[in-house]
Symmetry: C2
């Protein structure tokens, strides 16, 4: 079968090694004579999976002491609500940066629980850039930022200075580069981009923020309950956590997040270089905010976009259609995408331009 390059925004390309490990574990796990899918989450074999997954997260990101690593369910969308539910009192304020539709949804959920100060927004410009000049109030409980905006192809190149701890949705670029975790009170990320499959959500939280707010919470929505039970308050999404472990083992084997950063910069340089050079294409967002994970571009002659997409698909390039709110194309080049996939895309762009100009 022809090689397919998967440029989907998420669920997304995973390391082949991780998918093969998952496939084997579906049949037999660690000589138990049973599948990983059917063993008790209280077995010593499975408890080691969760412990190893937490340990590799800490190792890869250099998580300092005083933080708890959790694997939860519900995606980033549930975190939009859990963050303010746990961290924002009714009479308190949290600061939010509105840099995309996911940030906007996080803001909407936070308003159910307390005061929200949107320090800046690029909504009126269809989120084509990340706002930079703003002040974060010193009395805010936290400052929420989205590290990478999957739909618009923008990314925080540096996390902002803030008088209060950052909370960040890193769903679409976690483990793609080093991060100074000590600046954050809480980091969350749905797994289905750089970290494995849909069905689990990573949360890294300052231990002194557990039980921060005195609101009465349902057990499953209380970070402290999950922390006290090491992510095993109830049956965890066992296979999804295993896939996170296998994916992160691959990241480590490649050289960790430093190596990922180099790999991602090389891919981005190749593709943005072609977008800027090729007369048929152009980028969609502010150059200084360009994402290294989701690379968005359109054609100078929009009427050719259908034909280009067809040629790309014929060449085995899958998932390139842009989000409806931006149009054109989006090449998601997460950690597991190799330079060869980006080169294959660049080749199709060159050929298409030569034929059509």
């Amino acid at each position: 079968m022809k090689k397919v390059y998967n440029f989907s925004a998420g669920p997304a390309i995973l390391p082949r090694e991780a998918m093969e490990a998952g496939s084997r574990a579906c049949l037999e796990f660690q000589g138990m004579g049973m599948s990983l899918l059917e063993i008790s989450h209280r077995s010593k074999e499975y408890e080691a999976v969760v412990a190893d997954a937490c340990a590799i997260v800490k190792e890869l990101l250099g998580v300092p002491d005083g933080y708890k690593v959790l694997f939860l369910q519900g995606g980033a969308s549930l975190q939009f609500a859990m963050v303010p539910m746990n961290l924002l009192g009714e009479n308190e304020t949290a600061a939010y940066l509105n840099s995309g539709v996911w940030a906007d949804k996080a803001i909407k959920e936070a308003k159910l629980f307390g005061s929200v100060n949107v320090v800046a927004s690029s909504k009126d410009a269809n989120y084509t850039f990340i706002p930079k000049d703003y002040a974060v109030p010193a009395d805010a409980q936290y400052f929420h930022v989205t590290s990478n905006n999957t739909i618009y192809g923008t990314q925080l190149q540096r996390f902002p200075e803030s008088p209060v701890p950052l909370v960040s949705d890193m769903s679409s670029d976690i483990f793609s580069r080093p991060v100074d975790v000590s600046k954050f009170g809480l980091i969350y990320a749905g797994a289905q981009k750089n970290m494995g499959i849909a069905g689990t959500t990573l949360v890294i939280i300052r231990e002194d923020w557990l039980g921060k707010n005195k609101r009465k919470l349902p057990s499953m929505l209380d970070y402290k309950v999950h922390a006290d039970n090491d992510s095993m308050y109830n049956t965890p999404p066992a296979f999804a956590i295993y896939m996170a472990l296998e994916t992160l083992k691959w990241v480590k084997a490649q050289g960790g997040v430093q190596a990922m950063q180099k790999r991602n910069e090389e891919k981005a340089a190749l593709l943005y270089g072609e977008i800027d050079r090729n007369p048929s294409f152009k980028g969609t967002c502010a150059v200084e905010d360009r994402s290294r994970m989701n690379i968005t571009f359109v054609m100078n002659k929009p009427e050719l976009e259908g034909a280009f997409l067809k040629e790309a698909e014929a060449a085995g390039l899958s998932g390139l259609k842009g989000h409806r709110s931006v149009g054109g194309f989006r090449a998601s080049v997460y950690n597991a995408m190799g330079l060869d996939g980006v080169q294959a895309l660049v080749d199709v762009m060159r050929n298409f331009d030569q034929k059509n100009s």
Copy 2:
């Protein structure tokens, strides 16, 4: 490798066919040249998985018109909170039957949102029976019952008559027998017993109950949001839903829930027959409430329990240790367990008794 019989309470034994389908899908899905783990949840191939999973649930349970089938995350434990959050107003009352620790947890969560009337409880008897003489108030919003109590080995043989719609946690016996869905306002079940792997939760809800309560809810905790988006409000737990589909396809191929009921009655008759016949063993709960899913028993000489467990494990019988609050043994004989597994257990019980009496 020696055949292992998996008697775990959950995650639990699954049909071999489902695990093999899962293993293959990890590598390649439907000729796409990609793994199921990495394709977009918006692809037509994956959207068909969710649609097929909803359709087979409706078919197997005979779900009438006017109900919505949802696949959510968070397990039954999150439903303990979502049910009252969505269905119980602050000044309203819901009725609950306390037949086990999971019912008790559901009651605790419901109290955060409204008035709870516990119509009966067997807590003081360590839940060794299911209470039967009680009245359900006609002004209750719903009457919540746990259909099967995994820990104690009790099961509702018939669902109670009730002046108000039932809400039922069917996590550990759904699809094990026919159910008259029209008596229920809402049914929920974590998937990891009869329905697949941990990581997704089935909810079947009366459509006229969507948006029933006017409380302001976070989007991810609002049944109406999930119903309006056909379980795709955010990225669903894609692999877990696929495993539910494959597990339910197996149930259908065996003859549906009627065939499962017959199979489960045969297994239960064989094992309870041995427990009652064998002088070394005895059951732990009221005979009329005995579960066909989780069969609990102890030894008349408790000092022999360690030795019996060892012999059982040596014979390839895994997961038989009873829950700490009951002690002894628990044989979980969900749909996918065959009569051969139960026979293997009965053989070990006979041999052990003969050697030790």
